[in-house]
């Protein structure tokens, strides 16, 4: 594997590898990815990342903040390429790391991992510029077709381990659900678990996390400690693993009511313009009821009711997704049943946003993984091919939702980071695509 390690070293320095090596790398990656299901199972601990968009130096910053590979397990939710100036280096590095450490790197497909989109948004032009031909772009696109569509994170802990060397600001025994840290490992804020009846915290809905000082009234969650009546995990105790987390680039689809249905898709193709596969990569959560038309022209908008029903039916406690720029790096919505994670700081060198990654820690209670339905084809009632084929069929009714409480979410640590100073790494700066229309 010395060749691979050499390629990794070269790419880490932001230098492209020769075309022949790209071809070989892509070939290996495809062999690896073809074995993966549409929905990859990943065990906690894992660090979940959103869009990268060719911002190579910021990807290096992400690794600095989140820990290097293979010390940290990573799950990247797609959109590795386009917009930034270093799509090629960013994607090839991630792919090298995937081939080198297949169990520690999970890459799922974003809507930009597509032939059509990359010809419009920059990756195609970049390959042409850097290699003089479209071959490398073609090799990469062939890999895109094999990327998984989603991942399920199992065994994430319900409680947050203390940051190494950094005692929690809250009293011992406090039940921290969310912790936000900056790039220097300092805790910015914490949120304790709370009963379900409390109103959702508006500031959290907007991703603006304020210093809570451990005051529970500002805790933005619907779930409560086991036994409090606010949680559905009857046998739960501190340290129990939380419900599973679904990771997908965009969101849900009206054609998909169970994770099993994702597993049955034929994913090895260019992202279609419509249909379930397209929706998973293109849809967005929104403050609406049910489904709505997407302003993007692909995928759908979906409301809190859709998420809650889907999570319940599939024994999920959380959906983690990317796809949308959020200025604060992450944004929890719908009583923390879905979160957007965005990992491209100062997006397009223009937006002034910070980025975030989401750490889910490993449950060490020894109680094992919760029983779930989502791993077993045909287990759930709405499973293929029996019923629920129509877009809006197969979902639970409101009364069913109420009778089956939501699973408690895993404890979440967000690390927020800013754009890397490119010049400090001695990289040649390229002509930006960022612009203002003045």
């Amino acid at each position: 594997m010395s060749d691979l390690d050499r390629a990794i070293a070269q790419l880490r320095a932001c230098r492209p590898i020769p075309e022949t090596e790209v071809r070989e790398l892509c070939h290996k990656a495809r062999e690896l990815l073809i074995e993966e299901g549409n929905v990859v199972t990943v065990n906690a601990p894992v660090t979940i990342c959103g869009d990268i968009h060719g911002q190579f130096h910021d990807l290096m910053e992400l690794f600095r903040v989140g820990g290097d590979v293979p010390d940290t397990n990573y799950l990247f939710m797609g959109d590795f390429v386009d917009r930034g100036f270093y799509s090629l280096e960013s994607f090839l590095l991630l792919l090298c790391l995937k081939v080198r450490y297949p169990d520690r790197m999970t890459l799922i497909r974003g809507n930009h991992e597509s032939r059509q989109i990359t010809t419009v948004y920059g990756f195609y032009d970049e390959c042409l510029r850097k290699y003089g031909s479209a071959n490398v772009w073609r090799y990469c696109c062939d890999v895109f077709d094999y990327l998984a569509l989603g991942a399920i994170v199992l065994g994430a802990s319900y409680t947050l381990p203390a940051s190494p060397g950094r005692p929690l600001a809250t009293p011992p025994g406090a039940d921290v659900e969310i912790e936000v840290c900056n790039a220097d490992q300092q805790i910015i804020s914490q949120f304790l678990r709370k009963g379900r009846g409390d109103p959702p915290n508006g500031s959290m809905e907007n991703g603006v996390v304020q210093q809570s000082n451990g005051v529970s009234s500002s805790t933005p969650t619907n779930t409560g400690p086991p036994g409090s009546g606010a949680s559905g995990s009857s046998g739960g105790s501190l340290g129990n693993p939380a419900g599973a987390v679904l990771c997908v680039h965009g969101g849900l689809s009206p054609l998909i009511d169970s994770i099993d249905k994702i597993r049955l898709l034929d994913r090895k193709q260019e992202v279609p313009h419509e249909g379930a596969m397209c929706d998973l990569l293109w849809s967005d959560p929104d403050e609406i009821d049910g489904w709505g038309l997407s302003p993007r022209g692909a995928g759908f908008l979906f409301g809190a009711d859709i998420v809650k029903v889907f999570n319940q039916k599939n024994d999920l406690s959380l959906i983690a997704r990317a796809h949308q720029l959020v200025m604060e790096g992450f944004k929890e919505m719908f009583d923390a049943t879905i979160v957007t994670v965005w990992s491209a700081p100062n997006y397009c060198y223009r937006c002034g946003n910070v980025a975030a990654l989401l750490e889910l820690s490993e449950d060490d209670s020894g109680l094992g993984v919760l029983a779930r339905s989502n791993g077993d084809v045909n287990r759930s009632d709405g499973g293929f091919p029996g019923g629920g084929a129509g877009p809006l069929r197969g979902v639970l009714t409101e009364s069913e939702v109420d009778s089956k409480p939501l699973l408690p979410g895993p404890a979440r640590r967000y690390r927020v980071f800013m754009a890397a100073a490119q010049d400090s790494r001695g990289m040649p700066a390229k002509k930006p695509v960022a612009d203002y229309f003045l």
């Binding site: 130096h57 917009r83 100036f85 809507n111 930009h112 059509q116 989109i117 419009v120 948004y121 920059g122 032009d125 967005d284 302003p295 993007r296 022209g297 692909a298 949308q324 720029l325 959020v326 200025m327 100062n346 997006y347 397009c348 060198y349 223009r350 937006c351 002034g352 946003n353 910070v354 800013m418 754009a419 890397a420 100073a421 490119q422 010049d423 700066a429 390229k430 002509k431 930006p432 695509v433 960022a434 612009d435 203002y436 229309f437 003045l438």
Partner: protein
Amino acid sequence: MSAPSIPNLLSLLGGRGSRGRSRGGSTGTTTNQSSSSSHDATIQGTDTDASISRLSAVDLGYLRDPFASHFVTQRQRSSPTRRLPIINRGTYTRTTGIDFLVSKFLSSTDPTKPRQIISLGAGTDTRSLQLFSSFAHQNISYHEIDFPTMIGKKQFVICTALWTLLSPLNPSSEPNTSSTTYSFTRSPSNTLTLHPLDLRSLTQSLPLPNLSPSHPTLIISECCLCYLPPSTTSQIISSLSTHFPSSGIIIYEPIEPHDAFGKMMVSNLAARGIEMPTLEEYPTQASQEERLRREGGFTQVKSKTIDKVWDDWVSLVEKERVDELEGGLDEVEEWKLLAGHYLIVWGWKGDGLEMRE
């Protein structure tokens, strides 16, 4: 975000941006001559890129404009001229938005009598040529004011490349004290006059040749006055609006410099040597509206961000057509951010015109 952490890529780039920024320097009288003229050059230099942005939108079918390609040289075309969808949509929306208001002005004024349009720092803007060559409107007297070098370039392109497109074209020129004002007449009644003039001199010298104070007059500043010191711009607005009692005004410029996006915008532009003093002076939609009331005495004042212009003024059919051109706009959030930082503010006063939505 601290300055050292900002990727400084933009500083390596020559003039980039968009159109219509060939205007008076922003540095004012307090700055020494060399830095002032170098800023003038920076601002003028960006016009090249502006014409390319426009051409990108035209080539991809966003805008119809037979003139745009003539303002981009062969050498400039050798580099890729295609812009990203978000920029193309921006070029489209602001052009459409201003066109919409110009047509409101024209349709509210008497077509049998002269109507005047004054475009400040027009650069390679082609709106004048479109209106001038269109038979849809009569009695338009269009005036462009810009640096002599910019006017010279435009006059040259009109007289060479665009001659046939604009035919029949009757040119005339009128030597002034320092330079020459060019006029073109297209039968029966439309004229285009190019005034080679530093905008900063407008605070003193009115009237300009071929302009009558008694005709309804529309003043357009498409990202132009923002490069000048606020004291200068308010004098320009005030002297123009005093000179033309029946007048309308359209100003297009960025706003909101204090949020995260705005700070990055200011910093990125500064890295390119571009300052926008009015951005600090009129940072919000409300302060931009107030500016027109106070400095220009405009009794009716309205405004819309480019984001809202797209939402409100572009028809559903047209939205669909535009979105389809590049397979849909993926950058929805970025669009809202970017387009939310640009404002069209407009106002009118006096008799014989109206610019209601």
